[in-house]
Symmetry: D2
Subunit: 188 residues, 4 copies
């Protein structure tokens, strides 16, 4: 299956692979993540959410689940070292989702092992915007923090505070190693 | 001033500096953060919160502010590259605190530029416990995620979901480069 | 084919993959290279050289070439980002071998594009010892420097000064990203 | 004293420190070493060698030693984690110089503890050129490999094969953590 993040973000196709030297210039092997790769990957996450939601609206939960599995397999690092994940709406004692199974349940529900998960990505989302507050670039890892606003087909918008940690995999695509999402504090 | 994190966590005094070789063994220069250093730094954060709170109970906000400044200068990386900080109780448009000034206002209040900040560390906290869910070790950076429960002198406990990013500074102490804290979602 | 480095160094089979938590302890995802992994990989390089040499003594250059290809494919990072390689005995203008093809020619010769390469690994080596002087550990990269002494079946020993750079690949095996080897300076 | 590397390479003054955001764009904290920073630091090393040599020609070994000390203190990482150093002309058992003292002896001689060191930088060098073959960029570390040709005032040129490992320090300057230098192999 194609990589949704790469599909939605052309810059992600920039490989970690060598820029081969011509006769006059050095070989440069660069594994560092750039600022633009982070911004594109953030947009890629939004697009992935919208694709899952669209699949659900068109084909129901089974169709959404299929898309979500691809998102997890290509955009998260469950098979590339591990993921720390605190989704927006999980409740104790299943707050954290360090397994692909727990992440999938959060996005599309339908897993009796996670009875409180209704499927966040099934929310008929039709719009998703990222406002990045800050980025840390640390070699082939990066962290970004900001707000994401998702809007459903009824026009209702929800804003969450979000931190993502990224790694660049051996194909040069960014994957999520950290995801902490929380509802905005209202102060009341 | 002493480094509160180091003071409260003996393992943090393990230097990044060389383990000098005797005649028979190689020099090993190791800048990597270990699991135990992360656990100790997490406890160090709790101890720092309790020290600010204790200073306030004894000497009022000015005393607490002095301790908080030391915590920020020795335990955060505002002077070592930058910090991404989403505190538990901030509200838009001042949600994120990428400056030392904004972080100080959050912890001890009293800054007219941050009128909604009442001073989180002035909450008469007498107990602070960390339950770590996961740790990512990435050279001289690390990320940890889990829950922190703070209890005040009336015995009221509050649990927050927390992600910390750490770096090891040139003295071998851990500093916070990322801090995302959010109230537990109740599901209602 | 099996990974020669892993074969010769049991510790290399320690995966970068998660150490799964039981119910009471955190998940720890650790991609850092340890001192012992470096020492084992250095021994693995020696063993790989001896295997190529043994294959040559038994089956001639074609047999040696087959082993050398496996060594390069499993122990060097030509397909994992790139390699900087200055072999001991190369001469200008083909001093540096940034391609797998150039590295293979150095080890087993027989490539008309590299006419000065006689095949270093065809030297009837029966012994190979590493004396490490120093190691730098930098997350999933490491550098080690020291001397390697190779002895042939006639008992003649040659000592070279050597620097290796290592990366840990997605299977948790170390691969060479840097290799600078030079004959000892005699002072005359 | 000023940092010779920074002095000779303006790009090195680019700080690791935050690029502060205006109201519309995110804070980006970038600690990664760039290709151009490596090229500038390589030139900086050449300039440093020429400055030591010039100081010697003008003021003798004591003047050269003073410059060399500054070069080591600002351009090497002896106080920032450690250095692996195999100079071009050292002989066993003092081949490797993991201490500032041993490095200083190599550059300017005059140290009875290192009786074979005549002072490489006292060679009346008036020209120093770098031809980079390859660069590995790995976050706040980098490695470069290539050839350096030094020419003395009599016009005699010597070419060496060289590998440098770099780190970016807390002031944003590059420092040498690895230095392997060797005379070209002549093939005879």
């Amino acid at each position: 299956m194609r990589n949704l993040f790469a599909a939605s973000a052309a810059a992600l196709s920039v490989m970690a692979a060598p820029v081969l030297a011509d006769n006059n210039s050095p070989n440069v092997f660069n594994g560092n993540i750039t600022e633009d790769e982070v911004f594109n990957a953030e947009k890629g996450w939004c697009n992935a959410l919208l694709e899952i939601s669209a699949a659900n609206m068109k084909g129901g939960q089974p169709a959404a689940k299929k898309v979500a599995e691809n998102v997890l397999d290509t955009g998260y690092a469950y098979d590339n070292g591990g993921v720390l994940f605190k989704p927006t709406l999980t409740v104790a004692p299943q707050t954290f989702r360090s397994t692909r199974e727990g992440a999938l349940a959060y996005f599309v529900g339908g897993d009796p092992k996670f009875p409180n998960d209704k499927g966040f990505a099934l929310g008929d989302w039709t719009k998703c915007d990222v406002l990045t507050d800050g980025v840390l670039l640390m070699g082939n890892n990066a962290i970004s923090m900001g707000q994401v606003t998702v809007t459903n087909k009824q026009g209702q918008a929800t804003t969450v505070d979000k931190t993502w940690g990224w790694m660049k995999d051996s194909q040069g695509n960014l994957r999520i190693v950290l995801h902490h999402s929380s509802l905005e504090h209202t102060g009341s």
